[in-house]
């Protein structure tokens, strides 16, 4: 259980507004999950009624939101100690922890049951597993226990395209798991780049993020190694009948930039010294951490671009790269 420390104030005089309850659902995370889930659903190229497709995406979004609420309930103590998260509704005292817990449980049950009844039970089972993995395995166990927390926990963020694919096709072939693998391999470089310039917060809150446990130099090296694995993996969909020419061009160009930025992080001193601007904006960084900031920002852009390209190619019915090769189907 989370230890509820003095970091969590009693409820404030400010009444909770509906926007605070919406914030419990982590709408920014939800939007990424909706995007990747919809990409999986469309790339399956299976006949599904548009309304049921929309319901599937809605269930994925609500399930992700429920995970976020459960995360905010459990992590309220450490959220209150980090400047990135101390304004969240529970640590700020606008919403009680038990309300976040109740909302998380109800929305979890609702999203899974509705997915099962309206779409199919394979997608519902995968959604239930994803919520469980994020709320219990990652939040309650991995996050406070190991420096590999976001590596293993990244599976929860990587599963939405698989759920979307299962919703449309009723099965999960290798191409669906390939999308999952791409997000999974993207996660370490993305989060460790962020952690390099927010490690003080994590250290203060007692969260064993990689820069806190292994140090910035080791983290920078691991970011580069993961980027060397991640960039080639992004090319694979072009050779498995998933992506087309445009996808291959975007993945190759972006992957090259990703590796260059990761190399620059490796050679930089990002995370080496304490940030003197304790209360500056989260994304204001020192010159030494600029390379980490650049990689963090580009990682978001790159993942968005490759999924958007896959989505656009599937919607427009463009031929896959395999079909364009001599003798292609």
């Amino acid at each position: 259980m989370a230890t509820m420390t003095s970091a969590i104030p009693a409820t404030t005089d400010t009444p909770a507004r509906w926007q605070d309850y919406l914030q419990l659902l982590k709408p920014r995370v939800m939007s990424l999950v909706v995007f990747t889930g919809a990409t999986g659903l469309v790339c399956a190229k299976a006949p599904i009624h548009p309304l049921l497709g929309a319901v599937a995406v809605l269930c994925i979004a609500v399930g992700a939101g429920a995970s976020g609420a459960l995360n905010m309930w459990y992590d309220a103590d450490i959220d209150g100690q980090m400047r990135r998260t101390r304004g969240r509704p529970v640590p700020a005292g606008r919403i009680q922890g038990v309300e976040a817990l109740t909302m998380g449980v109800i929305l979890s049950l609702l999203s899974v049951m509705f997915m099962g009844v309206a779409v199919n039970w394979l997608a519902a089972g995968l959604l239930a597993f994803t919520i469980f993995f994020y709320a219990v395995v990652y939040t309650m166990w991995l996050k406070r226990w190991t420096a590999q927390n976001i590596v293993i926990g990244g599976l929860a963020g990587a599963l939405p395209p698989v759920i979307g694919w299962a919703a449309a096709a009723g099965e999960v072939p290798l191409n669906a798991w390939l999308l999952c693998a791409i997000i999974f391999m993207w996660t370490p470089a993305h989060f460790w780049a962020l952690a390099l310039y927010t490690s003080e917060d994590y250290e203060k809150a007692g969260v064993p993020m990689m820069p806190v446990v292994a140090g910035p130099a080791s983290t920078r090296r691991q970011i580069f190694i993961y980027s060397l694995l991640f960039a080639p993996l992004c090319l694979v969909p072009a050779f498995t009948g998933l992506g087309g020419r445009v996808y291959l061009a975007v993945a190759a160009t972006g992957g090259l930039i990703f590796v260059i930025l990761a190399w620059r992080v490796w050679r930089s001193r990002a995370g080496d010294s304490a940030d003197p601007r304790r209360d500056s904006g989260l994304y204001d960084v020192r010159a030494g951490a600029k390379d980490a900031r650049n990689l963090f920002a580009f990682s978001i852009l790159y993942l968005t671009l490759i999924f958007a390209t896959l989505l656009a190619e599937a919607v427009l019915g463009l031929p896959t790269f395999l079909n364009l090769l001599p003798g292609g189907a």
Binding site: D13, T14, P15, R17, Y21, V117, A118
Partner: protein
């Protein structure tokens, strides 16, 4: 009836913005919840029509 009436605490509360804020926040939350429930009911109805519609028409008479 010459005794002065005991001062009531309502004037102080009435001038405070807090009850108004609370009321406004409650109203906003109730409206959001109501809209959510109505949307959910409509969605369940539409999904039922989509899932059962063809089967209902196809059943043997």
């Amino acid at each position: 009836m010459s005794e002065p009436e005991a001062p009531q605490d309502t004037p102080a509360e009435a001038t405070s913005p807090q009850p108004r804020l609370m009321s406004k926040a409650h109203r906003g939350r109730n409206i959001a919840l109501a809209l959510g429930l109505v949307a959910f009911a409509i969605l369940v109805f539409l999904v039922t029509v989509v899932r059962l519609g063809a089967n209902v028409l196809d059943r043997p008479l």
